[in-house]
């Protein structure tokens, strides 16, 4: 299956009035790969994510996910289709425990109805058991087993970031979008995260990651898209990006040019 395009944007634009946050971006993400998106602050990375996951309606262009145009779909549909994300500023369900957070992620895979819940039917009991067990597995994958029963708000920062990824994984996405997963992490935590991302990728999922930590990006990504002021200025593997004069200019500003 590898090599096929799972996500594609064609001339994708998001404009706020006169501000072109994302402007005619063409991007291809191949199935099974880890795809990085980098760019200076304000380059439009998070805006691009928001458009991909239905939190913003693009002002132009198309988003093809497995060949289907999903531009403008409501955000909860993205998860149903197999596209799930984490957030730049952590958005956990704070008063819920870690395991409950993950169980919410299973939501759209479950069929429990109101009547099932009221009468505790077999379907209800089976689904509850399943989400509990699968939730524990996911916590373990992300190295969070020991935190299962603590409230999310109480967890250390880096742990919260990993919990967000675990929660996103619960929705069993084919494409996982991570928005600055290493932000605020120390080098040890980042290394652990990098291993986690590789493990997830090895499990067959496609990952798109926005990150400022160049080391991490260069280390894990098969392909990198560079945005600057809403425009795609470069796309290729780590080596290509590193040598691209446009990228160097964008990052170093005028002093280089």
């Amino acid at each position: 299956m590898s090599g096929e395009r799972i996500l594609e944007t064609r001339e994708l634009s998001v404009h706020f009035g006169g501000l072109k946050a994302v402007d005619k971006v063409d991007m291809e993400v191949l199935r099974g790969r880890i795809h990085g998106i980098i760019g200076p602050n304000g380059a439009g990375k998070t805006t691009l994510f928001n458009a991909l996951t239905g939190f913003l309606r693009p002002t132009g262009g198309r988003i093809l996910f497995k060949g289907m145009d999903i531009a403008g779909f409501p955000s909860h549909r993205a998860a149903e289709l197999g596209l799930c994300r984490s957030f730049q500023n952590i958005k956990l369900f704070k008063t819920m425990t870690a395991i409950e957070n993950v169980r919410v992620g299973f939501h759209h895979h479950l069929r429990t109805t109101l009547a099932d819940a009221v009468f505790r039917t077999r379907r209800f009991r089976e689904e509850e058991r399943l989400t509990r067990a699968r939730g524990r597995e996911l916590l373990e994958t992300m190295g969070l087993s020991q935190y299962a029963d603590f409230k999310a708000a109480k967890l250390p920062y880096g742990t919260q970031r990993r919990l967000e990824i675990a929660r996103a994984l619960a929705s069993n996405p084919e494409l996982l979008l991570l928005d600055e997963p290493a932000a605020g992490m120390n080098p040890a935590e980042t290394a652990e995260l990098s291993a986690c991302i590789r493990r997830i990728s090895a499990g067959g999922r496609t990952i798109v990651v926005i990150e400022h930590d160049m080391r991490l990006i260069m280390e894990i990504c098969d392909r990198i898209t560079v945005l600057n002021q809403g425009l795609k200025i470069c796309e290729g593997d780590a080596e290509t990006v590193r040598r691209d004069p446009g990228v160097i200019r964008a990052y170093l500003g005028r002093s280089a040019g």
Binding site: F16, N50, F55
Partner: protein, 303 residues
Amino acid sequence: MAETEKPMSETFAYYAQLTVDGLAQGAIYALMAIGFAVIMGSLDLVTFTYGEVVMLGALAGGYYGVAVLGLGIWLSLLLGFAAAWLAGMLIDAICYRRWPGGPPEVWLITTIGISTVLKSGAQVLFSTEQEFVPDVMDGMWEMGDLRVLHIQVLIVGVLLFLSGALWLFLGRTRLGLQLRAVSMDKTAAALLGVRVQRVMTIGNAIGCALGGVAGALLGVYYNSVFAIMGGVAGIKAFAAAVFGGLTSIPGAALGGLLLGVLENLGVDLFSSGWRDIIGFGVMIIILLIKPSGLLGRKGAERI
């Protein structure tokens, strides 16, 4: 409704009259809405107790001022202003100050708490009945079939005077400018040396005081005040203010006038029991079509 087969000119005069009455009533709503917009919009204070402040203004100005003490209209309005100002300070101390910038739900809850106290307190201490307020002026001008009461002119005059004063205050005085600075960005204002807490306290008091005057006018115009008038008053102030997106003062004024006219025309169409339903209905409809207000701008959700 005896309006069968009336000549054209009479029908016109009839609706003109409804509109004039609606405008006078709307001027009171406009004043309420302006006070509400000052509290809500410019200070980010979520309040639920505004209606009770209006009621206190009506009790102080309308009942004690006019009916009991016989102070005359101007002193009575001043009394309503002062009483509501004090109520505003009290509300600030109990409901807001403890949670600066706290979640708006807290302010919603505390102000619901205090409005229950104020309303029931007024019922116990004042009266559960509707109390009579005598006319302060009974003259009118007649222009053909159209009659304009002197009190109606007075109401519009008070509205114009107070909104002019507010405009000058916000635009020309140091405190007014600080108030606007706080409304735009509290952190930046604090960095510039503005005492944000104090400015919010005063802004809240000013908004309340305007509501108090509106309450006193309500009492005088309808010749009655009662302890439970605050609930409806609060919803109407909100309905009018929401027209401008809660924050806009001109929007609130326009919303108030419009609400007054709509209500009067609506009562003509249905019956007087439906007067308040129209107010609530208008509010809900505006909230549905455009929660940010017909004149307001839409704030983007941050992710």
